[in-house]
């Protein structure tokens, strides 16, 4: 492997992973803030408006982090992946430019109004500004997903004489079936992050015994949204996404399940360590025939294993891909379990006094971040060795004029910069949470 290629890959993986910690909360919180704002308008209750302002402050800090770590993503297509950009710009330039034109302007203009304009806008205007921020952040997610979905499952293009791809059908690009499953699955994952963060902060206040009126609202909204979307995450969206992979990326399906040998009635591996050298799973705990059923709705269906694919078409990092997928699915299952129990207690009116459950909600906070990250790793590692599935290999797409030393220089720069940003972010959010939703706010937002 050319070393510049390796550093470029680590560069992109690191910056995108760090970046996506922020938009997932932005996109997940935005609809929940609209819910809180709507409840506030309906019930004419100042408690809700305080809650909106509180989450607005957290949202604002989070949004700034998302913006400053997001600009490098758009730049990196050109700086580190210029051959890919030249090859694919005629198609995905559409969606990336549309994201800037439709989503970023909407989001940034109305966030300013939402955060600083409550008095000038009045309650209805303020509600509309919250809706606009919600729309902007979800549109942004849409265009990014369409872009990624095209790389996973390229449609609507023609090959030009110089070898590049050019747009043939805009509607085929935007209506790519892969994109719609992936969008639903991804946005649902973001709402789970928003819901668990909100429930977690609420649980913290209830356990602390401060800001309890707010805490109850946060837990209630968080648990209800968490229940709906953690189920939606599994079915139909996760299931639909999985069947897209089975239909269009058979090698990826085999690799995420570590199915080395094609078989009739393939088992579903719950736990176990893939041993790629010997092409088997060590210490497997399996459910017989379950993979065949989940993929094709038939217990004895044939499932293609990695042996059906030439090794140079295998995803390169099968072990990491397998773990990413299993961590995502495992955590998703845990979220459903937590939310079902919490929602049951809420329905029975016992949740706010069930300290053990509040502790679980509080400590759940990091896990949706891990699940979302693992999900994206599954998508991106699963696509390897392709950068654009079936059209361009990752090894062909990086900037060949930029030496490994230069990329390493900026990788180290980003590592240092993001360490500082991460510490600042945690410090500021922790302080906002400590200060709570009620009472005097400093000169800050």
């Amino acid at each position: 492997m050319d070393s510049a290629l390796l550093v470029d890959r680590i560069h992109f993986a690191f910056t995108i992973t760090f970046h996506y910690l922020f938009p997932q909360l932005t996109m997940g919180l935005a609809p929940l803030i609209v819910v809180l704002k709507t409840l506030g308008l309906r019930r004419n209750d100042e408690v809700y408006n305080q809650a909106v302002r509180f989450w607005g402050r957290i949202f604002g800090i989070n949004f700034v982090m998302g913006v400053v770590t997001g600009i490098p993503m758009e730049f990196q297509f050109g700086t580190n992946w210029s051959h890919f950009s030249r090859f694919a710009g005629g198609v995905i330039g559409q969606t990336l430019a549309m994201e800037g034109m439709f989503a970023f302007f909407l989001e940034s203009a109305f966030l300013g109004l939402f955060l600083y304009g409550e008095k000038r806008l009045g309650p209805r205007g303020h509600w509309w500004s919250a809706v606009a921020v919600f729309l902007g952040s979800w549109l942004s997610g849409f265009f990014i997903i369409v872009t990624d979905a095209w790389m996973q499952h390229p449609v609507g293009f023609v090959r030009a004489a110089d070898g590049s791809v050019q747009l043939a059908s805009f509607w085929a690009l935007v209506l790519n079936p892969w994109a719609w499953w992936q969008y639903a699955h991804n946005m649902s994952g973001a709402v789970i992050t928003g819901a668990i963060v909100m429930a977690s902060v609420g649980a913290f206040y209830l356990l602390w015994g401060k800001f309890e009126a707010q805490g109850r609202i946060f837990v209630r909204v968080g648990v209800v949204a968490g229940l709906i979307f953690s189920v939606f995450q599994l079915f139909p969206t996760g299931d639909g996404q999985g069947r897209m992979i089975a239909a269009h990326q058979p090698a990826t399906l085999a690799a995420i399940e570590a199915l080395f040998v094609s078989q009739t009635g393939a088992p579903l591996v719950i736990l176990g360590q893939p041993n790629v050298a010997e092409r088997k799973i060590d210490n497997p705990i399996e459910v017989p025939n379950a993979l065949s059923f989940l993929t094709y709705r038939a217990w004895k269906a044939d499932v293609q294993g990695l042996d059906a694919v030439p090794p140079d078409m295998w995803p390169e990092n099968i072990a990491l891909l397998y773990y990413s997928y299993h961590i995502m699915v495992g955590l998703g299952t845990v979220f459903i379990a937590i939310m079902v129990v919490a929602a049951f207690l809420l329905w029975r009116g016992k949740l706010f006094s069930a300290r053990w459950m509040l502790w679980i909600l509080l400590l759940a906070l990091p896990f949706p971040y891990i699940a979302n990250t693992a999900g994206w790793m599954t998508a991106e590692l699963g696509r390897q060795p392709w950068l654009v599935y079936g059209l361009m290999r990752t090894a062909e797409g990086y900037s060949k004029m930029v030496s490994a030393g230069n990329v390493m220089f900026t990788l180290l720069g980003f590592l240092g910069m993001y360490t500082v940003l991460g510490i600042l972010f945690l410090f500021l959010v922790q302080r906002e949470i400590d200060r709570g939703p009620v009472g005097e706010v400093s000169s800050g937002h």
Partner: protein, 347 residues
């Protein structure tokens, strides 16, 4: 079609420089003009609700460049790898400086973020100017349309230039002075009292420097890239550009003297439009000249553009999108119009 998209991308970049330019300039004068904590908060408040939206013009222009001219985007972004990454770091530091300062109470940290905000604004203005200088001067493009430029070589223009040479340093300084005046005038519009007087004073002081640098810059450009005069010879419409540039400089000093800050700010905006428009007009249809074998290797709008069908489709969404975006900006600036006050929520 290619020409139309060049005008669109160039127009968006100009919008970025005019808009983000005033908050970069406000950052550059921040420590000098804001003597007290209140004055500094007023400056932050004047740009606070709009700086992020202004910066979106850069991101959107970058996205549109990628869409319309993929090869130009691929070649220039990888070739200018190091300075672009530094611009990214500066943009991050600056955003953090503006937003997080408001969350800090301890004067030690407030002072630290003040310095970060001011220094990153100054450096960004210089970097953007130097970037434009690089594009006008030309870069060592290979036959495949790619290049890589080190940060500096021997500070001379020629076949093997670096990002920084005497010419690009000059354009960086021109950008800094221009944006300093531009930002000062914006803050003058948005404030009253001592801060208004002081920022107006900075613009008055910057004006003669700006006039001299404009002349020096034009002469230096003709020396470095003699082909820039060709388009002016063949298309008389180009003569409007020096009229706009020097006319707006004249209006600027007249308005400052008269105490009409708004008019002066508008004139400064026209000056920026004239300078950048002039550069784009002079290079057209080239968008990135090659320093060796320019006749064959230069990147033009024709050899870098995306497919015709894609460009046509693009127009159908770009036009409504830009109308919406302009609508948001009108709404945003109207909501925060008038002189800034310190009461209420915010910085």
């Amino acid at each position: 079609m290619e020409t139309l998209w060049l005008m669109i991308v160039a127009g968006m970049l100009v919008a970025y420089v005019v808009l983000d330019g005033f908050d970069l300039g406000a950052g550059a004068i921040y420590l000098g003009a804001g003597k007290t904590s209140e004055e500094r908060r007023k400056i932050l408040r004047a740009i606070g609700p709009v700086w992020d939206g202004n910066e979106v013009w850069l991101v959107a222009a970058g996205g549109t460049l990628y869409f319309a001219f993929p090869l130009l985007y691929a070649s220039s972004f990888s070739g200018f790898y190091l300075p672009l990454m530094m611009v990214l770091w500066l943009l991050m530091l600056r955003g953090i400086g503006i937003e997080l300062r408001a969350h800090m109470e301890n004067p030690v940290w407030v002072g630290f973020f003040d310095l970060i905000f001011c220094a990153s604004s100054v450096l960004l203005a210089i970097f953007f100017g130097a970037a434009l200088g690089n594009v006008v001067r030309g870069v060592p493009l290979g036959a495949d349309g790619y290049f890589f430029e080190p940060l500096w070589t021997n500070f001379r223009v020629g076949a093997n230039p670096g990002i920084l040479d005497w010419y690009t340093v000059l354009t960086g300084v021109i950008a800094l002075v221009t944006l300093t005046a531009h930002g000062s005038l914006y803050i003058a519009v948005k404030t009253d009292g001592a801060l208004n007087q002081r920022t107006r004073g900075i613009a008055t002081w910057a004006w003669p420097v700006q006039v001299v640098l404009t002349v020096v810059g034009v002469v230096a450009t003709c020396y470095v890239q003699p082909t820039v005069l060709d388009n002016f010879e063949h298309h008389a419409v180009g003569l409007l550009i020096p009229v706009v540039v020097f006319g707006s400089l004249g209006v600027m000093i007249y308005a400052i003297r008269k105490g009409s800050d708004k008019l002066a700010f508008v004139a400064s905006s026209f000056y920026i439009v004239g300078m950048l428009g002039g550069a784009a007009f002079a290079l057209y249809p080239v968008v990135l000249p090659a320093s060796t074998d320019p006749a064959h290797r230069s990147l033009t709008i024709y050899n870098t553009a995306a497919g015709r069908h894609g460009l046509t489709v693009g127009l159908t969404w770009w036009i409504p999108a830009v109308i919406l975006a302009l609508g948001y900006f009108v709404l945003l600036f109207r909501m925060f119009r008038g002189k800034v006050r310190l009461e209420g929520e915010g910085y």
